[in-house]
Amino acid sequence: MPAKRNRQRRRVPAALLVPAAAGLAFLILPLAGLLARAPWTELPARLAEPAMLDALRLSLVTASLATALSLLFGVPIAWLLARGDFPGRSLLRALVTVPLVLPPVVGGVALLLVFGRSGIVGTWLHERFDVTIPFSTTAVVLAMTFVSMPFLVVSVEGALRGADVRFEEAAATLGAGRWTVFTHVTLPMIAPGVLAGAVLCWARALGEFGATITFAGNFPGRTQTMPLAVYLALQSDLEAAIVLSLILLAVSVAVLASLRERWTAVA
């Protein structure tokens, strides 16, 4: 094993190594900047603040719900885009990625125009069910789902295109129905792609700021997620903002690392 690893290491071409190192430095240095500036002595006091814990819990819950919604709707969308055969498919694919390009604040305004008090769907929801979405936790989840689902769709579609269709065809030949083929052949084949997409989606949802503050507003305990708390802390106290960001970073890295361990243990 060690001999093999050594041989591989020697083979990394400089043309890859140099930009990789430069790129890594570019990605990691800002984090180092935050760590260097962090007031470590304040950390325990910040961790015990109920407002901080509220924001952290709200962030974790809403990002997870947004990921669940994205899986529920995103995987079928990805299947449609990868395997469907209908006119306008490439247009649809472009439309799905709109939230990736749209500035999140504009996304938030767009959501208000649809789901707001005087929005197309919002008016109906209000009159029919007496439900108002803006300024609620539901709005946070919707804003997160809107901006993060495309990440899942793009990864899952990529996985579906990379998967060998012959396995699905073989299963179909052996008498499996289309739904059985999907759940027993396709899904297991693309599982790594779905997981990667879900991780991307969760991470994006956790960091979501612009669409959330525009669509859901900012109310502690109800719509104030960690990024919003960080932004507001930044208005008065840079150090507090850094501490809050580091807590969010540490928690998300811990969650992702523990999940990864579980997946590799299964595989």
Binding site: V18, P19, G116, S118, P134, I213, T214, N218, F219, L232
Partner: protein, 252 residues
């Protein structure tokens, strides 16, 4: 041999990226006649016009504005962002800049007061703070000047009003009203006047308890110190006052 073109390509791309970043930044100190002014978001309309008048009186001078929350701007200045003049919406953020040694001797040039902005025609018949009970209204978060003022005014009224959202700045607070998501918004009189096509302003006595003073100063690290001092004097002068008064500010 095969790695050469790839390396060259990487180098070219890296260079292109670096130069693109370099010319895109705001720190173009090669051009001495450009004045960079960091100003509170609530000054957007007034300062844009004052800037145009200043440019008209000074040949070859271009005034560039960066409008944002005063606290954002103060943080940018103390972290070393290149700028010539700072106009804050409150004393607190100006003090931060002065304490950091980035400026001295700030001078007040305008006062601003809160009003209750309501949809045009005032459908809910709001006449004072007490009428906000039972309505959905937006206010700024306590971390920004307009939020601190809103909290002071609400405290002074003796009511226990809570907005449905604590917005990050006064423009997004007003935007929640113009988008129809709230029935009222606590904003500066100047912001309500700037949006007078869509909203009406209801004055309320408690806002006198929370008057914001706007100070201005030339920054110590100004690339164009003379021009910065000149612009500061201009803002304190009568020409600029005419613009500020129309915008709804009061004179200190």
């Amino acid at each position: 041999m095969r790695t050469r073109p790839a390396l060259a390509l990487t180098a070219v791309l890296a260079l292109a990226a670096l130069t693109a970043c370099g010319s895109g930044g705001e720190g173009d100190d090669a051009e001495e006649s450009t004045l960079t002014v960091l100003a509170a978001a609530s000054l957007t309309e007034a300062f844009t016009e004052i800037g145009e008048r200043f440019e008209a009186e000074h040949d070859g001078v271009a005034v560039e504005f960066s409008f944002a929350a005063s606290s954002d701007l103060a943080a940018q200045i103390t972290e070393g962002a290149p700028a010539d003049v700072f106009a804050s919406a409150d004393q607190k953020n100006m003090d931060k800049v002065v304490e950091a040694g980035a400026a001295e001797d700030p001078r007040p040039f305008a006062l601003n007061q809160l009003v209750i902005a309501v949809p045009e025609g005032n459908p809910a018949g709001v006449a004072g703070l007490a009428d906000l009970a039972g309505l959905d209204f937006a206010a700024c978060a306590a971390e920004v000047p307009c939020g601190a003022a809103a909290q002071t005014a609400i405290d002074a009224s003796g009511t226990a009003l809570t907005p449905v959202t604590f917005e990050a700045d006064v423009k997004s607070t007003l935007q929640k009203l113009t988008l129809g998501e709230v029935d009222a918004a606590l904003v500066y009189r100047t912001d309500a006047i700037a949006a007078q096509d869509e909203v009406d302003a209801v004055e309320f006595p408690e806002s006198a308890e929370a008057v914001n003073t706007y100070p201005i100063t030339a920054l110590a690290d100004a690339a164009a110190p003379d021009l910065a001092a000149e612009f500061t004097e201009y803002v304190l002068g009568d020409d600029a006052w005419a613009v500020l008064e129309t915008a709804g500010f009061q004179r200190p």
